[in-house]
């Protein structure tokens, strides 16, 4: 079997929350040795849950992706069992060290010497407080690649602001755009498009820098502002303002390009829905066939796309009367058979039962010591020569201390025991961390 593309590249992972961990997850998926540095003395928000030791009573709360712990129990070490973090902890190594103490910083520097890349995703200033600067990293390893990803970037008036993805949604204009028309904005749900974007583009940036380093021997600093990085995703909105002075309003499920119908309709069962979007006359005729050509489709007000677009509310009512009688999956098959773009609004159960995802092997069975055996969302792409897999389960804090300290950094047995005695090495947070 061929080596994975990034096998042999070592990445130090100082990331928090989602964007950074997702970037390093992609590098790990592609074969890099990603070593996550954690501290037993410091809680990193959202990196291993929203609390280190949540009481069991919280396990029935919303949102499920925060509180849906295995068997609805926090367990002995809840931080190794969080649905919010475990999916991006696959294929990684973890070591613990306290970077606020000199001997901890010494260990970090020794690790930098034998690494290719450092990735961090804290608010600017956080690394500086630890005296980790690009210059300091270069002193250890002249060709180091340093990816820094933050909400607003390393310079400019907002640079030092603390934020997570939901604030970036708001400031980049997405929160307003992705809601129901004419519904109060204070109901907008918390979401994170910029984390997803920064994750993939951050990994891309690192690989580009690695290629350049191989060609020239030079490393470099990358400043990825998560708000800037995601801006192109919303280019129709910014362009409409730039080109036409128009400020786009929320469209709900309606198509910005005016294809109609474009909507989500209720189905048989509780809270079941199907998405249908007709983009051509051919598809409209297929849709009519699927419905059994009821008389109302002949009405003048639905006779072409423009009319359907203008009379979409009435059309939606007709469609909903029909969809309500059917199962959401059955509707997909019925409509797709007639060449109509349609699909069920899949909840998590549907994802795991879905025959297509099963056929393609999207989910992978993984056993992690403190969580048990589960099906995990897998790697996003199928590579023919070097298939990418979940090679290692979501890493537990400090799981690879022995390996990293002794084999990667080369500390002696005696030094290791000393660092352990000083509290750097371990698999538990100190009790003060809640």
């Amino acid at each position: 079997v061929a080596e994975l593309p990034l096998e042999g590249i070592r990445v130090i992972d100082l990331t928090v929350s989602w964007a950074g961990p997702f970037a390093t997850c992609i590098l790990a998926d592609l074969g890099a040795e990603v070593i996550k540095i954690e501290s037993r003395y410091h809680w990193q928000q959202i990196s291993r849950g929203v609390m280190a030791r949540p009481p069991e009573s919280l396990m029935s709360n919303e949102p499920v992706w925060v509180w849906g712990y295995p068997d609805r129990k926090p367990g002995e070490r809840p931080w190794n069992r969080t649905p919010i973090s475990n999916p991006t902890l696959r294929n990684k190594y973890s070591m613990t060290v306290d970077l606020t103490r000199p001997e901890g910083m010494d260990i970090f520097k020794r690790l930098v010497k034998v690494s290719d890349v450092v990735v961090e995703s804290n608010a600017p200033g956080t690394m500086e407080k630890l005296s980790i600067t690009y210059d300091m990293l270069k002193q250890q390893r002249p060709d180091i690649i340093y990816l820094r990803t933050s909400a607003y970037g390393l310079s400019g008036p907002y640079s030092s602001f603390h934020a997570i993805g939901s604030q970036i949604e708001a400031i980049t204009g997405h929160s307003i755009l992705r809601w129901y028309p004419d519904v109060d904005l204070s109901t907008v749900q918390v979401r994170f498009q910029s984390d997803a974007a920064a994750g993939v583009n951050g990994a891309f940036a690192v690989i580009a820098a690695l290629h350049y380093r191989n060609q020239t021997g030079e490393g470099q600093l990358i400043d990825l502002s998560q708000s800037e990085n995601v801006m192109t995703h919303y280019c129709q909105a910014t362009m409409d303002y730039v080109l036409n002075g128009r400020v786009l309003k929320p469209l709900g499920n309606r198509d910005y390009y005016g294809t109609a119908p474009c909507g989500v309709y209720p189905c048989k069962g509780e809270d079941r829905w199907v998405a249908i979007n007709i983009t051509s006359e051919d598809e409209w005729r297929g849709f009519c066939r699927a419905l059994g050509n009821p008389p109302w489709i002949e009405e003048e007000r639905f006779s072409d796309n423009l009319k359907r677009f203008h009379n979409q509310d009435q059309l939606d009512k007709r469609i909903a009367e029909w969809t309500r009688e059917h199962d959401h999956y059955a509707l997909m098959h019925l409509l797709q058979k007639e060449g109509v773009p349609a699909g069920p609004v899949m909840d998590a159960r549907d994802c795991y039962n879905d025959p297509h995802l099963r056929d393609r092997g999207f989910f992978e069975m993984v056993t992690q010591e403190e969580c048990g055996t589960h099906l995990y969302p897998g790697v996003m792409w199928k590579l023919s020569a070097t298939p990418l897999k979940i090679r290692m389960p979501p890493v537990r804090m400090g799981e690879h201390n022995e390996y990293v300290y002794k084999q990667v950094i080369g500390v002696s047995e005696e030094e290791y025991r000393d660092l352990e005695a000083k509290g750097h090495i371990g698999m538990e947070y100190i009790p003060e961390i809640m």
């Binding site: 400031i171 994170f192 974007a197 994750g199 069920p344 995802l357 199928k382 020569a385």
Partner: protein
Amino acid sequence: MAVQALSDIKVLDLTWYISGPYCTRLLADYGADVIKVEKPTEGDPARKLGPFLRDDPHPEKSGLFLNLNINKRGITLNLKSEWGSKVIKELVKDTDILVENFSPGVMEKLGLDYDTLKTINPGLVMTSISNYGQTGPYRDFKATELVLFAMGSAMYSHGIPEFEPLKYALTVLQFQAGGSVAAATLGAYYGSKYKGVGQYLDVSIMETAMGNVDTRMTECMAYQYSGRVNTRQPFGGGFAVGIYACTDGYIDIAAGASNLPRLVEMVNDDRLRDPKYADPAAAFKPELKEEFDEVWLGWLSTHSKKEVVEACLKHNVWISPVQTASDVVEDTHFNERGLFVEVQHPVMGKVKIAGRPFMMEKTPWQLRRPAPLIGQHNEEVYTRLGYSKEELVVLRQQGII
């Protein structure tokens, strides 16, 4: 001009619409020589998608197309013609990366599938992007942004319980897919370049949505772990989390859990200093939340957006103003950092777009050229392959280029 990281990479771009072009734009942005191949005369269908300059639906005036195709060269070619597939094979000899996003099976029909092309260039990295992937029961199903979002993303839990589930805005899922593909494709290129492993990538847009870090992936995990299914319940993650109205607009704030004490300091009302709010379970008790909101919403109702933002910054509370597209384009921070750049386009004139995806110290993002006009680089590319200007005239008349 400064050197760029990917300047030595040659990309043959057989993509159209959004996901594929965004992937190859990222490669072009950092220096790759991307040759975009379009259908003769009408070009990429994204040219028919707006917004257009002054709402004029002209193939060279699409703001979307411009954003997706800066820094590329463009040629036209009828891939269905014999000459067309011959030219692609000639170009593939000198190509590192080929990206395409036709329906599954189209490349085989054109005689341009990976098995054929790798015999011409064994080191080739070829990426196929499609809605559902090259295999599986949904392979030939139709999709749009809405349908893919319903299936691949966390639509089911996005919205209000009484209303229908909601997609995200515009076509963001396809942009995200393009970014995901770019990372994988560049990774595979790295393997080809330094380990001699050329290969084929089969990417399903639906799977790029399911496997990305926004809430779908974590919801799947939570369901496996706990058997619980995420619904459209309000977030509920703390006392002050989400979007709130102030006197003249909205702000987004995240002051749940460990950040709460800083918010309490900011509001500076003794009622919030009650230790009962410090219990991590407190925010999930409706009666306590109501009591808290009385003070918190009261404070907001006497402060403007600007005042709230300033107070939050002073107290290190996670905050941002809720902005519209016009706020974004006029935003001080984004403009001071130089995010927006002016593209000089032969038909559109000067157009401001959000430029760089990220900043590289030594190999910076550059705006090297605007999006290509239809067939703009035909002569340049084809004469380099050895075709004469006379031959090109004939091909043009036959509608092949």
